[in-house]
Symmetry: C2
Subunit: 419 residues, 2 copies
Amino acid sequence: MRPITTANILAIGTELLTPYRTDTNSLYLTARLNELGIDVSAKRVIGDDVGDLERALAQALQQTDLVITSGGLGPTSDDVTREAVSSVLGLPMAEDPALVELLRERFARRGTSMPEINRRQAMVPHGAVVLPNSRGSAPGLLIAQGEKLVLLLPGPPRELEPMFESSVRDRLAERTSGRRLRRRVVKIAGQPESKVDEIAAPVYEPWARLPQPISTTILASPGQVELHVSARGTDVAALDAQLAAAVTALCAALGDSVFSTDGRALEVVVGDALRGRGLTLAVAESCTGGLVAGRLTDVPGSSACVVGGVVAYANDVKRDLLDVPADVLARHGAVSEPVAAAMAVGVRRALHADVGVAVTGIAGPDGGTAEKPVGTVCFSVAGPGDQLTTVTRMVPGDRGLIRQWSVLVALDLVRRALR
Amino acid sequence: MRPITTANILAIGTELLTPYRTDTNSLYLTARLNELGIDVSAKRVIGDDVGDLERALAQALQQTDLVITSGGLGPTSDDVTREAVSSVLGLPMAEDPALVELLRERFARRGTSMPEINRRQAMVPHGAVVLPNSRGSAPGLLIAQGEKLVLLLPGPPRELEPMFESSVRDRLAERTSGRRLRRRVVKIAGQPESKVDEIAAPVYEPWARLPQPISTTILASPGQVELHVSARGTDVAALDAQLAAAVTALCAALGDSVFSTDGRALEVVVGDALRGRGLTLAVAESCTGGLVAGRLTDVPGSSACVVGGVVAYANDVKRDLLDVPADVLARHGAVSEPVAAAMAVGVRRALHADVGVAVTGIAGPDGGTAEKPVGTVCFSVAGPGDQLTTVTRMVPGDRGLIRQWSVLVALDLVRRALR
């Protein structure tokens, strides 16, 4: 049988054709399919209209060997995915008594009886494999027709994702060529994408021309750049060894600006480094207004190393809570390296922490001057011990981007201070 | 000529078929099309493959009267949208000398000469209207064929959106029936979707059966519920009057839990209320770890009313910086109404603000007990004047959701205190 190498994804639901909802399942599915060596060649969003859906299914089946739908498996008359698939594939549906029983039990466990309408969810096209749903009432369906496969998954991500992991991945793997995609990610903070690429491109460009090529993709978000390296082949161990060597080469070129090669986010890396050394951190923020502390405390268990912080938006707060001397504020201005350093030292002392980090800058849109334009941000880290590092960066973008960038720069300075 | 009532949107670009990038242009375009009385009946994402694109274009043109593409208008050989459209519509392309001149001028203004490859961007299918691009080199194209319209827009949102506003909207409006969609949004914070709908449904359900019906959609995000009411018709003033009455009726039913009917976010409403009364705010956060202050300071100009805050993650910080008495902490625990109240009073005093708001709770995943399970969050607002309000809420979801919910509840308590 011909192996499956490409897929189409159909997201079904009229709400996905409004300005308010977007299909995110296809991003998850694409990542999982890519790992199995399957590319996604097209994606569609279709409303709850059986005619539109039949047309889209028929077209997708002509163009690819695997069609995955998400949504439209509920009990109401809006949910027409089963009917459309049955019609396009010419497979009559019948009620599956075992499935009716499972649905009844599901409702009974919640102390109610099953509404009759839910029997629709027990209708199964002839020959379909029923995929159990651990988180909802809609079962998935997997239908083989000749060399083609049609996979029907429920719409809610919290139902779709565990169903894929437990019932779909292994079944799909059997139908692939055995080629797999393996991927590693190298993460860099606080550097512009162009600068990272200038350093990395001479390293990764030759890899695309290897007999066993490595693909490299650069993804930039505010304050962070990711280099994704991936390779395809049947020998997973050999691919992983090849990618490990690629990651090592990129790290050698990029040096200490790499903060993670194992998927961890910067706030997790910082938290792990603090815990590893038994140190605590306090945060003093002006222009980021709490976002540095907010990011650090996103991580479960961060209370073990993050004691807290001061959002010193007003100068009085910098003076009263952080002991920034009034004359330093007056002489250098709130956005200055001496003030950043005094904030870092002050928050460390006031909160009895081992390390203090401070951010003060001009996020805009107002407040910029010729000397200190919008985007001027000063950072300082006090500790551990006698260390004191203070830097000024020109951060790009509008208010929102400047604040997000600054969070990453601040966390990266803490990471560097902890090495 | 038949008016245009439905559209298909095609997002073009192989990067949109990876796990990392998603098409967001279609959300913007859908909102604008809906306002013109045009529904989106399907969306697709296609890679940079001329065959795939030709098939998708032909299918979309069969199904609808307006096809909008985004992307694939760049100068490189990957950019095949012009070629595919020319081929499917049978319209030969020719270089537009005026467009070549515009491109040359664009490069000259940046001090470089135009690469020859950019001449591709001056190729125009016969009869197409060229749409100027104020932010990039790729012009848009609008092509009428019989009763159908094909609209080619550039991929970057910062180019697509101004092009739509300046060159597309009015031209499309001429081809519609004159029916428009008008919309109003009622926003509620800190209430579960089910509770809002229980109150609102008896009000809005009859509207769907009016001779001139009003549609209602509920959108829930963590800590916030939005009721979108919309109506379609040719008399915009009458629609707006009808929706204004609908908003008034919903506000009467939902009472003071409505925080906005004019599109403003809660942090903007709170900032406006503070400025309107000439008051300042300080924030004390435990489980939200800086996110309340971070949200308030997202708003440009917030330094006029937000003086700052204390992230009191550790109990020592609650005691040392916020003067929460050690015996209150010991007796009631850090997550308790007495501690929340002491934090609100303490941060207000320490930061010399008119109003203090405090959040302390158990965001999980650890730290819950039988008495105070994960999701128990206490809030307090001190001020203005002698006011002191303290509440406890059971907030749903995981750590991330509990923190997001809590931000909205805290901001909403401040809003209520300022009325």
